[in-house]
């Protein structure tokens, strides 16, 4: 099996065996949405516990029970913001995941919003440009922290512009970093959301995972997706039900706050079990472990001849470097050693076509990191050699024939 330093939103974490043991139980695996609460208390209580966990992570009081995945959650936040502000202009940081930006754009064509992008400076969102871009027509400002380049954004500072103009501040985040980073809610976010895969879910070539979506009290009746609520039964017993169904398509139809029906309940359960397994202390410790191993990896790679940091902003678990050799060819060479060195930033950022995004998890040992550094160094050296040869005889490199993704 390949040793992977690929991240870009989905990460190769260790998932404890109890996650499978619990999610594979028929009682969780085979029922549908808990429309009949009397016989669905298990699933409903899991939703309630999950909502509590996500609310704790993000520092926002209201969480739903999960959406499809990250990028479509961003698009749903846009729809909510339009309803909440009666405005239709989005200001989006270029640090937001490219898939999120593209999905938001796709949806915007439908519900009729305009998307304005703000660039990066030194790896983080250009604060001045952002402030300039936000105006009285702006429905929401979209940030991501850590952003796609792994850089931790100063959400609080950047968010000021949004507050000033009455726009909602939407922050996409990596849940695994929230044991370390200030919760978006504390930094002024109105909505915090993101891709849930790092919590208890397999890579599965990209899905199924889930999206989490948290907001302020003010938005509770505009939330997308299922929400479990605590209540009592006729005998006064504590119980849980689907709350605020009056937001939903099956009740409100064309007036619903979102069109989602089947979501990702089982994946949210996996996340809850993983979080319970990590626990309050373990979750923070894992965050610290990621920060330290990532700092180590960043240093090791920066020391490699032909590798330099793409930015030196603070990072938690992922960072970007520039390679002094064609990234695709270097990736190919390193892959021959059973290592996926990372994500080629050129896929999404023409300005970073020499960029490589490297992700660290607790499964990536210091020894593997050392091997990556060594392999990268060797590959770059080899490519430089090949280049020289190239220029001599203009023979095309077979390794350059690659199916681009």
């Amino acid at each position: 099996e390949q040793v992977t330093f690929l991240g870009a939103g989905m990460y190769d974490h260790y998932v404890p065996a109890i996650v499978d043991a619990i999610t594979s139980r028929s009682e969780f695996l085979t029922p549908y949405t808990p429309y009949q609460p009397e016989i669905s208390q298990g699933g409903l209580q899991v939703m309630f516990e999950f909502q509590t966990a996500m609310s704790e992570l993000t520092g926002l009081p209201v969480s739903n029970a999960g959406l499809y995945e990250g990028p479509s959650s961003v698009a749903s936040a846009g729809y909510l913001a339009m309803g909440a502000t009666k405005r239709s202009r989005f200001v989006v940081s270029r640090g937001l995941h490219p898939h999120s930006r593209e999905t938001l754009a796709t949806y915007s064509v439908g519900y009729g919003a305009e998307v304005v992008e703000v660039g990066l400076d030194g790896g983080v969102t250009d604060a001045a440009a952002l402030a300039a871009a936000v105006d009285g027509e702006t429905a929401a400002v979209f940030l991501q922290s850590p952003n796609f380049l792994g850089a931790v954004e100063d959400v609080e500072a950047l968010g000021a512009a949004a507050k000033e103009h009455g726009a909602l501040l939407v922050v996409a985040c990596d849940p695994m970093t929230l044991g370390i980073l200030k919760p978006p809610g504390e930094a002024g976010a109105d909505i915090a959301l993101g891709e849930g895969q790092p919590l208890g879910n397999r890579l599965d070539f990209g899905g199924p995972s889930f999206g989490f979506f948290c907001a302020t009290e003010a938005q509770i009746r505009r939330m997308p997706g299922r929400i479990a609520g605590e209540t009592e039964d006729v005998d006064g017993r504590r119980g849980f039900v689907l709350a605020l169904q009056t937001r939903e398509q099956h009740i409100r139809r064309e007036k619903a706050t979102n069109n989602i029906c089947t979501a990702q309940a089982l994946n949210a359960l996996a996340a809850m079990v993983h979080l319970a397994w990590l626990g309050r202390e373990g979750f923070r410790e894992l965050g610290e472990l990621l920060v330290r191993r990532t700092a180590y990896a960043r240093e090791r790679l920066a020391a490699v001849d032909g590798v330099e940091l793409l930015h030196d902003a603070p990072v938690v678990r992922e960072f970007a470097v520039r390679l002094d050799a064609p990234v695709d060819r270097v990736l190919d060479r390193v892959a021959e050693r059973g290592i996926a060195a990372g994500y080629a930033l050129g896929r999404d950022y023409e300005e970073f076509d020499d960029g490589l995004l490297v992700a660290i998890t607790e499964r990536r040992t210091p020894a593997q990191i050392d091997e990556l550094a060594e392999a990268l160094g060797a590959a770059i050296a080899a490519e430089r050699g090949a280049k020289v040869a190239d220029n001599a005889t203009n023979a095309p490199q077979s390794t350059s024939e690659r199916v681009t993704a």
Partner: protein
């Protein structure tokens, strides 16, 4: 403790947070194995978190017990008959779980170089081909995450298609029987819904349809149809309907939630549909998971193909390696773009493709035939008994894979609401049918048995209905106060909407659990209403 009290009733709901104790834990993490630099030296203090989040503090044995116990507070498909109309609660073969869990699938990173993900891409391509064949349409995108996501995709495709022809259209037609996601998707896609009436036979009212079109032909962007529709009835005028919509220049959208009625027997493409979504978690046995995950692939006609989402899985002849290669094609200039991250719910694709391979084309046809047979058998069983009078079928025709009963006589004559019947069914060990949907049927009960149920299950269900109606004739209170044997009994859903408590309160910091101000629409509709 009363002797009678069922153990689960005795056991009051306790959350995992309430079970946690400071200092307990399950996870033991590896050493970082690198310098223990203070975090503050690596990340500025103002960006750091103060207190860690209040996650549970609990060891593995109690985590396992907690969730095992919770699981027993669920009724699931493997506990018994689950005729939840419109949801196709068919058996989930465990073989599919096994193949989906193979490391080559489960541990594959979504950003893996396609040249090193050929197996996964080939599976996706083969699934696309199979679904295209099943739908009778040339092209498929697997990207949408569920049915409603597919609907949105279909509407965005319609918009792109018209825009490409420099047309701007604003209206989407949908029958009054349509599923809630249809109108919700229409609004989300920036269109206006125009309701079309239902005729005496439960199909689209052709006069009304013509009238709606006539009002403003060149504003008609699309007609969204479910066929068989949510009454479980196949629309006899489908070809004429298609002709009318196409003549008006609109697209015809097929809500495939009911595909289980027609697989291998007829194809939406042959009926004239331009865009189809399928629910892999319904027709193709992906487990429902308590509300997902699912997947909602779309199949489209040639004229829609150019606008499909990016990326598309494609097969390339002789791309370097021996034989054809599979790849992700991003180079689609007229595409509507992405609907989500990466390539879709791949794990669901694996299960669904395994399901298709296990059945083969004959098996798929047999699946639909049996689903329709089961529905008609149960419909007949019910018509014969007390249900025949108290719970008449809403539209008395041969049904497809499901049928809809009306509880109106039961309500008028016995004072029993459909909800009461549903709750009483819980005591008999059945999951109730979908209730109060479709909206045009008064006190509706929507029954979908699926092909994987035995005659014994169908008979037992019919007998239970008969018994409940019989006991209600003697004492309607019995059902009005049901259920009796469940962990909790009727729950206060209005309160949960009026004053929602949506998270655990932790006293300090935890807030009051998110009680929110009431709003005008909070009980516009009784939360008791629920559907698929």
């Amino acid at each position: 403790m009363t002797l009678a009290e069922a153990p689960m009733q005795r056991e009051r709901a306790t959350t995992i947070y309430e079970k946690s104790k400071v200092g307990r834990r399950a996870a033991v993490l590896p050493d970082a194995g690198v310098p223990e630099t203070p975090i503050e030296d690596l990340i500025p203090a103002n960006l750091l978190r103060g207190e860690p989040p209040n996650l549970p503090e609990i060891a593995e044995p109690e985590i396992v017990r907690h969730y095992n116990r919770l699981s027993r507070r669920n009724f699931d498909l493997d506990s018994g008959f689950y005729p939840l109309g419109s949801c196709t609660m068919k058996h989930n073969p465990r073989l599919n779980e096994r193949v989906a869990a193979l490391p080559g699938h489960a541990r594959l990173h979504p950003a893996q170089d396609p040249r090193r993900a050929q197996g996964a891409l080939e599976l996706m391509w083969l699934l696309q081909e199979s679904l295209a064949e099943i739908c009778g349409l040339p092209s498929v995108s697997l990207q949408p995450s569920a049915g409603s996501h597919g609907e949105l995709a279909g509407l965005l495709l319609t918009r792109a298609y018209h825009a490409d022809r420099n047309e701007v259209r604003t209206k989407v037609l949908a029958p009054d029987t349509s599923h809630g996601t249809n109108p919700a998707s229409v609004t989300m896609a920036g269109y206006e819904v125009v309701k079309v009436a239902t005729n005496q036979r439960g199909g689209v009212d052709m006069d009304d349809l013509r009238a709606r079109i006539a009002e403003d032909p060149d504003q008609i962007a699309c007609l969204m149809l479910t066929n068989p529709n949510t009454l479980g009835l196949f629309d006899e005028n489908i070809e004429e309907i298609a002709a009318l919509i196409h003549a008006a220049g609109g697209t015809l959208y097929y809500d495939g939630a009911n595909l289980n009625a027609i697989m291998g027997r007829t194809r939406p493409g042959d009926m004239g549909f331009d865009i189809v979504h399928l629910n892999l978690h319904k027709s193709f046995s992906q487990p429902h998971g308590g509300g997902g995950p699912g997947a909602g692939p779309i199949a489209v006609s040639e004229r829609i193909e150019p606008f499909l989402p990016r990326p598309q899985v494609v097969r390339r002849e002789g791309s370097g390696g021996p034989g054809p290669g599979f790849d992700l094609d991003f180079d689609r200039p007229r595409s509507i773009g992405r609907l989500r991250g990466f390539q879709g719910n791949f794990g669901v694709f694996v299960r669904s493709y395994a399901y298709i391979l296990s059945l083969g084309s004959d098996g798929l046809a047999e699946t639909s035939e049996t689903a329709v047979l089961n529905a008609n058998y149960l419909k007949a069983r019910l018509a014969a008994g007390r249900a025949g009078e108290r719970l008449p079928v809403a539209f008395d025709r041969h049904c497809m894979h499901e049928f809809v009963l009306s509880g109106r006589p039961m309500k008028n004559e016995l004072g029993l609401a459909t909800l009461d019947l549903a709750k009483r069914l819980l005591d008999f060990g059945f999951h109730p049918p979908t209730v109060y949907f479709p909206l045009l049927v008064d006190e509706a009960l929507m029954v979908e048995p699926t092909e994987t149920e035995t005659k014994e299950s169908l008979d037992a269900f019919a007998d239970a209905i008969e018994e409940i109606l019989t006991e209600a004739e003697a004492d309607p209170e019995l059902a009005r106060n049901a259920p009796y044997s469940t962990p909790v009994r009727r729950l206060d859903e209005v309160r949960a909407t009026r004053r929602p408590v949506v998270r655990q309160a932790f006293g300090a910091g935890g807030g009051d659990g998110g009680a929110a101000a009431e709003t005008d629409f909070d009980d516009a509709t009784s939360p008791a209403d629920s559907d698929a």
